[in-house]
Every structure is written in structure tokens, then in C-alpha cells.
Amino acid sequence: MRVYIIKRLVEAIGVCLVISMISFFLLFLNTDPALLLLPPEAEMEDIATFKKQMGLDRPVIVQYVDFLGKVVLHGDFGDSFVAKVPAVRLIAGRLPATVKLALASLLVINLVALPVGVIAAIRRYSLMDNIATFVALVGQAMPLYWFGIMLIIVFGVWLGWLPISGSDSLLHLVLPAITLGSWILPVNMRLVRSGMLEVLNQDYIRTARAKGLSEKRVLIKHAFKNAAIPVVTVSGMQFGALLGGAVVTETVFAWPGLGRLAVDSIRMGDYPVVQAIVVIFAVCIILANLLADIVAAFIDPRIRLN
């Protein structure tokens, strides 16, 4: 187990390095950062002085090492070009809103996907199962932001039940959480269903039933626990999908979170903020994957022994 964790940890650190590198060099892909920062009428001389001041005249690789050092040692991604405050501070201010949204949508996902998935598996080919299959199929093709806009039109504008933008109350959270949840819900539903189906055919379930356990106990204690493993394993990857979905959802609902900050910063060419968000998102995704793998290895000895 320890070897497994260490191996995965080393790999995760490597991936983080590559991502920091890509997000750093993205800035140099097509443009000179000095030209981005200075007004267009700047003289050649000013540009040269400015470059020297900012250390932009050094070899790119030296600049990268410098960037990485600051990030790792001080958590410093530089100052935002637009707001003129440290990028990290901007991000810290936006983080709570995104976490709130993500947690609410996770609640939506699990409240629907787990029971429906289990029922669809137990009552295979029943009406419920067919509806679930159909919803999953449709959900796969639904652009997230369009779904969000349609929810706004129907529940916000036509029915007037729910607020359509902003983040003042819990009611504001309903539509964004459903929108973001709909992104992952079909996948989880299918996973639970196929996991349950696979498990229900196993010998130990027959044994559990044969020894007279109640059906509820068989399903929950014996079947569901094992069927949940694939859900745990993919939840790490889904965390990434959730963050990506948050970018879109927050834009649609004017939700003041990290995703909207990311979109705004990319549009305005505010690279320190973009780099910081990309690296922080990536580190979160990698950590989530790592955690999911370790949890899965704990639950299922077959994974860690392989």
C-alpha cells in the first residue's frame, strides 16, 4: 500500500510540474508579455527598460524557474495586470462561492443518481429503468449552458419561481446547482446501475440471500457497497469535470466564483490570474484523482495488489 501511494504521489508531482510549465509557456506562445502589459504607444526604449525591470529579458527557462520558485515557496503567482493586487488574493475571494456551488451540485447528483441507479438495476427493464436510460441519453447531448439558460427561461422568467442570477440567498443556489449537477448526474446514474447489475449476479449475494438476510440488508450492505467502487474511482475525474462545468455555470448565472474570474481574466489577458487558476484547478484535480485512487485501493484490495 505504501509503495502504491508513494508511486502515485511522485507521478502526481510530475504532472503538476508539467502543468505549471504549460501554463507558464502559454504566455510566450504567440506574444511578448511586455507588449501586453505596456500601452501600445510605448517606445522601444521604454519596452527595454520595462523588460529589464520585470526580468523579462532573461532566458525563458530562467524566468520559468523563477516563476516556479515563487509559486512553490511563497504561493506567489504575481500581481493581476488588471486589479493590481496579488492574483492569489483575488482567487481566495472567489473560492467560497465556487465551493458552495460545487457542494450543492454534488448533493443534487447524489440525491438523484444513487437511488435511481439502484432502482434501475433492481427493477431492470422496468419503466423507471427505461426512463433513466432515456434521461441519461438525452443528458449526454445537452449543452450545459443551454440547459442553464432554459432553466432560467422556464423557472425564472415564465414561472417566476426562482431568481435567475446573483448569489444572495439559498434560492439563488437552486438553478445553478441543478445545472452543474446535470453535467455529471447521467454518468453516475449509469455507473451505479451497471455496478449494481454486475454485483447482483455474484455468488456472495446469493449466499447473503440464502442465509436469510433481509433484502434491504442484502442490497445496501452487500451489493451497494461494492457497486459504489467505480463511483469512487471516477469521482476524482469528475471533480475536474465539476470545476470545468463551474466555469460555464457561473458564467450563465453570473455566479461570483472562480470560474467566472477565469473567463473574465482570459478575456482581458490577465495572465497571472489565468496561470494561478489553471495551476490551482489542476492541482485540485490531481489531488482529487490521487485521493480517489487511494480510497478505491483501500476499499478494494484487488487494486492495490495489482
Binding site: 427493464y125 443551454w146 427561461i153 447482483l200 440464502a210 450563465v252 473567463v263 484535480i285
Partner: protein
């Protein structure tokens, strides 16, 4: 008594688990019928994309401020002249949606071709050679998967500049990992087959073995995957355009139209609803066809 009850439950459940032949056939037919629906939808899409200059009733770029924000024909105030109404500049929405088909399909197909070229090449190498090459390529795949796709694609478009070509590049270089994963696993399986051994013993070059012998065996599963990925690329392109980092106005792209329509969603809901419906229907059609293809080409992959 309790044992008996459980026994009854057990037998009823095992009946549940093994559906009757009739219901299986029904389900199979339902699946195939959905596939036919998907094929018809895709046919309509391709036809529209190719012939949109002829089929579209109006010029998609022609503005007419006098007739701006007209509702679709089935709503009060709509007219037959603009079946789906007009947008804030008085442009015909039906014509714009039809022209948007071309952009979506071109971007979707081109991006997937790029993904296939990168992904399959890396997957073949990783799966066939194993060892260090496999470790390096798998590491690259992991690194790419750690990236939030949308941020990377947006940053790429922002840095390269928003143009049709750059959007295709951004979608291509961010979306190849799924092809590498599938190709790698399949190649590993094929490598153990006797025909590869035979080819090796005939001293064929690795390139020849991979391209002429292994790759043809992967084509069915890759075709299915590529079909579904086209739908995904279409959704992603529209998303980039929606966020303002894709196709730029006035070119009629579904995502751009949606973004423009969003400003009017309180009153003129159809402006945002209709282009979104076009994206949804296209993606649904392609996915339905993909699912049916999967059923036909590989019964093992069939969803349970």
C-alpha cells in the same frame, strides 16, 4: 416462513435479471430504431451543412432593423417570411441556424481528425512498445487529463487569436487523450495475437506492422469513438463561441447566437432557445448513431 419469503423474492429477482426473449428483442429493436433516428438526423445535418446557401431562405448576415426581434411563426406576431423569427439586428434566425450547421460540423469533424491523428499515433506506440515509451506517453495523458479542458482551450484561443483554424487546433490538442487510452489498450491486446508474431517473424518493420496490421483491427472501435467525439467537439466549439472565445460575430455560429440571445432571454426567449436546440439535436443525433454503431460492431461493448 421467512426463508420461504426470501426464496420467493430470490426467484422473482432472478426472473427480473433474465429478461424474456421478447423484451430483449424489443429493446434491441428500440436501440436500432434510435440508431435510425440518429442516422436521419445526421443526414439532415450534413445536407443542411452542404447546401445551406441554397436551402436558407435569407442571407444569414443581412440586417434589417425594421424587422428586428420578430418571434417565430407559431407565436403571435410571427410571419411566414421568417419562420424562426429574427434576431436583434433583424437577421433571419432560420438562415443563421442553417449556416451554423456548416461551421459546427466543419469544426467538429476537423477537430476530431486532429485528435485521432495525435491520439492514435501515441496510443499505437505506447501499446505496442510498452516499457519506457508507454510510461512517457501515459504520463502525458495523465498530465493532459489533469488540465481543466475548458481553461486550456480558452487560453489557447485567447493566445493564438480566435479564428476557425485556431479553434480547431485548440479542440484538437486538448481532446486527444481518449483516443490514446482506447488505442493503447486495444493495441496491447492485439500485440498478443498470433498474426503480429507472424508479421514480426517475417521481419516486417514496426511501422508496417502497426499501420497495416494492427491499426485495421482497431478501426471499428475507433470509428464508434470518433462519432461520439464529434458530438462532443460540436458542443465544445459552441461553448467556446458562447464564452466569446470561439467563432466571432457576425459569422453565424450556434454558440455565438446563443450568447447574443442570452441578452434577450427575458422577453425574446427563442433567440437563445433555438440555436441551443440545434446544438442539442445534432449532438443527440450523432450520439444515437454512435450507440447503434457500437451495438452493431462490438457486442461486448454493448451497454448493460
Amino acid at each position: 416462513m421467512r426463508v420461504k419469503e426470501n426464496f420467493a423474492e430470490l426467484s422473482s429477482l432472478s426472473e427480473d435479471a433474465k429478461p424474456s426473449t421478447v423484451s430483449l428483442i424489443l429493446r434491441k429493436m428500440w436501440h436500432l430504431r434510435l440508431g435510425v433516428v440518429g442516422a436521419v438526423l445526421l443526414f439532415c445535418l450534413v445536407t443542411t451543412a452542404i447546401f445551406c446557401p441554397v436551402l436558407a431562405p435569407h442571407d444569414p448576415l443581412k440586417q434589417n432593423i425594421m424587422k428586428r426581434l420578430r418571434p417565430p411563426v407559431w407565436l403571435k406576431g410571427g410571419s411566414v417570411d421568417n419562420l424562426l423569427g429574427t434576431d436583434h439586428l433583424g437577421r433571419d434566425i432560420l438562415s443563421r441556424v442553417m449556416h451554423g450547421t456548416r461551421i459546427s460540423l466543419v469544426v467538429g469533424v476537423a477537430a476530431v481528425i486532429m485528435q485521432v491523428i495525435i491520439g492514435v499515433a501515441l496510443g499505437l506506440l505506447a501499446g505496442y512498445h510498452g516499457g519506457k515509451i508507454d510510461s512517457v506517453i501515459s504520463f502525458m495523458v495523465n498530465a493532459m487529463m489533469g488540465f481543466p479542458f475548458i481553461l486550456l482551450a480558452m487560453s489557447l484561443v485567447a493566445v493564438l487569436g480566435p479564428s476557425l483554424q485556431n479553434i480547431i487546433i485548440a479542440l484538437g490538442v486538448t481532446g486527444w487523450t481518449v483516443f490514446t487510452r482506447v488505442t493503447r489498450i486495444e493495441t496491447m491486446k492485439q500485440r498478443e495475437q498470433e498474426y503480429v508474431l507472424a508479421a514480426t517473424s517475417l521481419a516486417f518493420s514496426t511501422k508496417r506492422i502497426l499501420l497495416r496490421h494492427v491499426l485495421p483491427n482497431l478501426i471499428p472501435s475507433l470509428t464508434v469513438l470518433a462519432t461520439v467525439e464529434v458530438a462532443r467537439a460540436i458542443i465544445r466549439e459552441s461553448l467556446l463561441s458562447f464564452l466569446g472565445l470561439g467563432i466571432q460575430p457576425p459569422t453565424p455560429s450556434w454558440g455565438t447566437m446563443l450568447a447574443e440571445g442570452r441578452d434577450y432571454m427575458l422577453m425574446q426567449w427563442w433567440l437563445a432557445a433555438l440555436p441551443g436546440a440545434a446544438i442539442f439535436i445534432s449532438a443527440l443525433g450523432i450520439n444515437l448513431l454512435g450507440d447503434a454503431l457500437r451495438d452493431v460492431t462490438d457486442p461486448h461493448l454493448r451497454k448493460s
